[in-house]
């Protein structure tokens, strides 16, 4: 089992695919050593564009490249790139440009750099745009599978990646299915829905809830936040009485909200949205911040138990 940041895994997968997909181009805004897009530059230097600290121009240039037949991957920290919302809205989403916006350093998992380098709002922003698809892989295997999918699938997309290490939770041969939930473990008492870094924490939390409380806890990974799996959520709403969504993002308009929107219409299970509760981030280690926000396994288990008895 590897333990790697998804920014590393995704970028390595893209670099590996560079020669195979000649229409792929990569742009970065002076963060290629951090986003790891430098891995692509080393393999395909002529198709890598260093854009300097000009995220808006990077997004627009990516749109122009896309409109000329390229598949343009645009890298920066999630906060810096998703923050250029108006440019993404018009140049990319409205134009239907084949631009993949890759936001690394998502959530409080950024750690010591503090809130200005964190994005707790990017899912909310990106899922509000028509035509924009929103993905968050949970580990190295899913990051690579998603990368392959995006190389083959035209249209605007946003991908959210971690700065911090996440453990491998998928087996080799995992197939990414766009718009579908990814069931990691079955269970009957409640279901934990994770996305990105929280999926592995949900698995550990499920173990603890089984060991300490004797609960049968399902774990569902949500790599595809938009499109969201309406049928899959409706099915889970019949299988368990309680769903707890867990995300390293503001609970407002994130993955949990996407699930809530479906549940409000299909009925069934009760929902608790767990994540960063409309708060700013701060400095600290990723582990300390996950503890504070109860996004680690112990915290998720506590939240789930409290939710059952509410």
């Amino acid at each position: 089992m590897t333990n790697a940041p998804t920014r590393q895994s995704f970028s390595a997968a893209l670099a590996e695919r560079g020669p195979q997909y000649p229409e792929v181009v990569v742009l970065d805004a002076d963060l290629s050593k951090s986003t790891k897009s430098e891995l692509f530059r080393k393999v395909c230097p002529d198709r890598f564009f260093q854009m300097g600290i000009c995220e808006q121009n990077m997004i627009g240039a990516a749109a122009g490249l896309a409109m000329s037949g390229k598949t343009a991957f645009c890298f920066s920290f999630a906060c810096f790139v998703a923050g250029r919302f108006e440019t993404i809205k018009i140049s990319v989403a409205y134009g239907g440009a084949n631009v993949k916006i890759i936001g690394t350093h998502a959530g409080v998992g950024v750690g010591a750099d503090g809130y200005s380098q964190m994005s707790l709002e990017d899912i909310a922003l990106m899922r509000s745009l028509p035509a924009m698809r929103v993905y968050q892989p949970a580990d190295d295997i899913e990051a690579a599978a998603l990368c392959e999918h995006l190389c083959r699938t035209p249209g605007p997309a946003y991908v959210r990646l971690t700065r911090q290490n996440v453990p491998t939770i998928h087996a080799d041969g995992y197939v990414f299915r766009d718009g579908e939930l990814d069931e990691l473990r079955s269970g009957t008492d409640l279901a934990l829905f994770g996305t990105g870094a929280t999926s592995a924490e949900c698995l550990k939390a499920a173990d603890r809830l089984g060991d300490s409380q004797g609960l049968s806890v399902a774990v569902v990974n949500v790599p595809s936040i938009k499109p969201i799996d309406v049928d899959g959520i409706a099915s889970w709403a019949k299988r368990v009485p309680l769903i707890v969504t867990v995300e390293d993002h503001n609970v407002l308009a994130g993955m949990g909200s996407a699930v809530a929107e479906v549940l409000a219409e299909v009925g069934g299970a009760r929902l608790l949205r767990h994540g960063v509760h409309d708060a700013f981030g701060e400095s600290g280690s990723a582990a300390e911040l996950y503890r504070k926000h109860r996004l680690d396994a112990d915290g998720i288990a506590e939240v789930a138990v409290a939710a059952r008895t509410r």
Binding site: V25, D46, R47, F49, M51, G52, C54, Q56, N57, M58, I59, G60, A61, A62, A63, G64, L65, A66, M67, S68, G69, K70, A72, E86, T87, K89, I90, S91, Y94, G95, G96
Partner: protein, 285 residues
Amino acid sequence: MDSEQHDSGQGGDPTSLPSLCTQLRIDILEMIHAAGSGHPGGSLSAIDVIATLYECQLTHNPHEPDWPDRDRFILSKGHGAPALYAVLAHRGYFPRARLSSLRTFGSELQGHPVVGTVAGVEACTGSLGQGLSIAQGVALAARLDGRDVRAYCMLGDGELQEGQVWEAALSAAAYGLDGLVAILDLNGGQLDGHTADILPLGDVAAKWTSFGWGVRSIDGHDHAQILDALRWAKGRDGMPKVIIANTVKGKGVPFMEDQVAWHGAAPTDEQLEQALAALRGEGAP
């Protein structure tokens, strides 16, 4: 030196431009009048340059609008859409009869340009400041693919107040993108007033020069000067080019000229008649 070998695919006649532009100005005013809203000032200031480009310089094919080797024109000042639509209809991208549907429900002619709705529109614009970046991407792709494609982008002078324009200016020069041509419609006006009063732009030519661009300043209503500048801008010398077109907002309609009130207002029936009379008089031989 290479101005002739990159001649337009359509081979337009420069001597027809004055009368053509009069007709296009009439089209613009009739469209905006029919719509009951729109931006006459900046459409009338831009029309001579856009018409000259499409008639005499742009390598394009209205019958194959997605031809990969076409030059691109991106109207970054998207509120000038009536001028672009009038020229595209004239060139045969869509029937002229469609012009009267501007801004109406269900029309392809959206209030600001939308790629994919109308053949010949290359980008979504209207949110100012974005077009030059897109044009830069087009020029980068052309160079990567070894295509002799030019990316033209028209900017408004008020639009230069958007920071993204200067990001693109810095970047295009760093990449030495001589396939990129910016055209500045320097009409001196913006919605709230004259640019000099809202946010002065200073020495625009000096700014672009200092950013590493080749700069030529012209009378943006003189077709010979426009054509000469467009030919100059095709030079493959490792620099992006900007043509500073000194224009008059509302050009051709005396009561609109340099009146910022006509930035975004439709003429009444009477005003339209008055404007058309002025244009027809001016356009007579």
